[in-house]
């Protein structure tokens, strides 16, 4: 029996279907990323699980109990908001203890949990400050501490890092992941950032237009995208998609290489993007625009001829009609020089 089970969850407003017939299971201790472009229904899903939004249809089961109609406070879950949702008039300590006081937890128990949480998120000397005196990263830690002291087995996180700068985001990513493992938390993490999802999650649920597009381990989504949408969404720079007869062929930029002997070049450089560790080169290949990624610094002039190739095993095939993944047609040659 899975820990959290979502069955046929739907949410519909007057004329828009935000979430349609979404079903998934989460095991205890799993870190699940709900990934998708903005407006795909991931935040709505999270809010319905939290009880802050009422589903139009479907059930939510936590630990085998149906919590669909329970009040948010009765669901035994905690949540970290994108805005942190810290109470501006309360000190850090009072913010963290807010829920324990509301639930009338005994004073010595409150103190124990507070001390532990503060140590875990490293907030020692900030306890008596007000949120307005803290930096974004520190606010984030207070929000985490508030989730930790509640000792709820399920923690929902709604884009918790999107208000932080890039460096801090990287730090907090690994910190949150480490905390989750240490405490054995089950985390449902909403994000639109694929790097966050790929680097933190045990499993990614990729949503598109209110529907589950693919679910699986990060490498599964990357190596075996179930549809054209997944192929285009996961990976940066995105997968190159070429039309080939009745099907679409996708090839990742890092799988394209130069043959070296350019007597018969098949592509010309359109522009180059130097990014430090590698250079992304956009070329014109038989009328199609293709991006390839080369290690190091390669600033090639526009119109420069190149001869590119890739291995057939790295090709992804999709149906033109449905956009779904297809098996590659058998071909005699091991490597194709296109």
């Amino acid at each position: 029996m899975s820990f959290l089970s979502v069955k046929g969850l739907s949410k519909q407003w007057a004329d828009t279907q935000a979430v349609s017939d979404l079903s998934f299971d989460v095991d205890e201790g799993e870190f699940i990323a709900l990934l998708g472009p903005s407006g795909c229904g991931k935040s709505t899903t999270l809010k319905m699980i939290a009880g802050l939004d009422t589903p139009s249809a479907g059930r939510i089961l936590l630990n085998g109990q149906d919590i669909t109609d329970r009040a948010p406070g009765q669901r035994r879950l905690s949540m970290v908001f994108q805005s942190y949702a810290l109470f501006p008039h309360l000190s850090v300590k009072e913010n963290i203890l807010f829920g324990l006081k509301a639930r009338k937890v005994a004073a010595n128990e409150q103190k124990q949990r507070l001390d532990r949480a503060v140590e875990l998120v490293n907030l020692g000397d900030q306890l008596h400050k007000k949120p307005s005196q803290l930096s974004g990263g520190q606010c984030q830690r207070v929000a985490l501490a508030r989730a930790i002291v509640s000792q709820a087995p399920l923690c929902l996180m709604d884009e918790p890092l999107s208000n932080l700068d890039a460096k801090l985001r990287n730090e907090m990513r690994s910190e949150i992941r480490a905390l989750q493992k240490q405490l054995g938390l089950t985390v449902l993490y909403v994000t639109h950032d694929q790097i966050e999802a790929m680097s933190m999650a045990d499993r990614i649920l990729l949503l598109n237009d209110g529907k589950l597009e693919q679910s699986g381990a990060p490498e599964a989504l990357y190596n075996q995208p179930a549809s054209l949408f997944v192929a285009r969404f996961i990976g940066h720079p995105p997968m190159n998609i070429l039309e080939k007869g009745d099907r679409l062929v996708g090839i990742r930029p890092e799988h394209i290489r130069l043959t070296g002997h350019s007597q018969s070049p098949n592509a010309t450089v359109m522009h180059c993007d130097y990014q430090g560790s590698d250079t992304q080169i956009c070329v014109d290949h038989q009328g199609a625009s293709i991006t390839l990624s080369l290690q190091g610094h390669h600033l090639l002039p526009q119109g420069h001829p190149l001869d590119i190739t890739w291995d057939r095993q790295h090709e992804h095939h999709f149906s033109t009609q449905t956009g779904l993944r297809q098996t590659a047609p058998s071909q005699p040659k091991e490597s194709s020089h296109v």
Binding site: G51, G73, F81, H89
Partner: protein
């Protein structure tokens, strides 16, 4: 700051400063001066404390002061609580809240004189609205404005009706400034409706409450337009308020010196109230 910047600063302050000096500070100083040196309508009869001696011996002054304190003590808290309740109500998800907000705000748009005229009709014996309604239930009604035991309370009722809608607007604006995330977070933490109100809404509304409180107290002492229409302070000063009594002394009894002394007393009361409010309450107010 350089000399030029100093000059600019003073130039920018000048218009407001000139107006304040001409119409606020000068009259204040003149009033204080007059209260110590005037007698009746005469100026500069020499320094004397007669006006203040008269004030202490004046039974009407003490009655008017007591009236005004009761008036403030009742109208201020009642209208503030009412304003908060109305604001919470029209801020919730109910149908027709636009119409409701307008309905609550309408008394504020009306001038005090018009309001007083409307309420004069409500309060009139025999044909007035209140007594007509009471008559349906077989009650002979009250002489709302003519009964010395009732007239002050009748004025208060009207003042509350007029003020609450105005204060509601401030509370409504403040409520809409509170992020819904805070309530959601509190709800998830298991805080019930009452806890959310007590620990989030009330403290976050404290700056507004302070502002409204000061305004309400000032209005309780300086808004007397309705007395001209409804009771003229009567019967037998039962509904008289300090500012109206000052007006009577200055312009009906032509004793401007005594009116000056009364004005100084009023100013002192207002200063004390302001000091108490800023001193005591400010410390408990959280500003974002």
């Amino acid at each position: 700051m350089t000399r030029n910047q100093q000059l600019y600063a003073w130039l920018l302050l000048l218009p407001a400063l000139a107006l304040l000096t001409a119409f606020t500070y000068m009259p204040t100083v003149a009033t204080i001066w007059h209260s110590f040196t005037g007698s009746g309508m005469q100026d500069n009869v020499g320094f004397n404390l007669d006006n203040y001696r008269d004030l202490i011996d004046d039974d009407v002054f003490w009655q008017v002061l007591r009236n005004n304190l009761i008036y403030a003590a009742v109208t201020v808290p009642v209208s503030i609580v009412l304003a908060l309740v109305m604001a919470l109500w029209v801020n919730s998800k109910i149908r027709g809240k636009g119409a409701l907000r307008l309905a609550y705000f309408t008394p504020t748009i009306l001038p005090m004189i018009s309001v007083a005229n409307i309420w004069l009709f409500f309060y009139t014996p025999e044909i007035g609205l209140f007594n007509t309604i009471l008559g349906w239930f077989g009650h002979k009604g009250y002489n709302w404005l003519g009964d010395p035991n009732l007239s002050l309370y009748s004025l208060m009722l009207m003042a509350i009706w007029k003020e609450a809608g105005f204060f509601m607007i401030f509370y409504l604006a403040a409520l809409q400034g509170i992020s819904p995330d805070l309530y959601q977070a509190a709800e998830l933490e298991g805080a019930g409706r009452w806890t959310r109100f007590r620990r989030i809404t009330l403290p976050l509304l404290m700056p507004t409450t302070l502002f409204v409180l000061i305004n309400a107290f000032l209005n309780a002492f300086k808004l007397v337009d309705h007395l001209f229409i409804l009771t003229k302070g009567g019967p037998n000063n039962a509904s008289n308020l300090l500012l109206y009594y000052i007006y009577e002394n200055a312009f009906s009894f032509f004793d401007t010196a005594y009116a000056s002394a009364l004005t100084v007393a009023l100013l002192l009361i207002l200063v004390v109230i302001a000091l108490i409010q800023f001193g005591v309450i400010e410390r408990r107010v959280h500003y974002r």
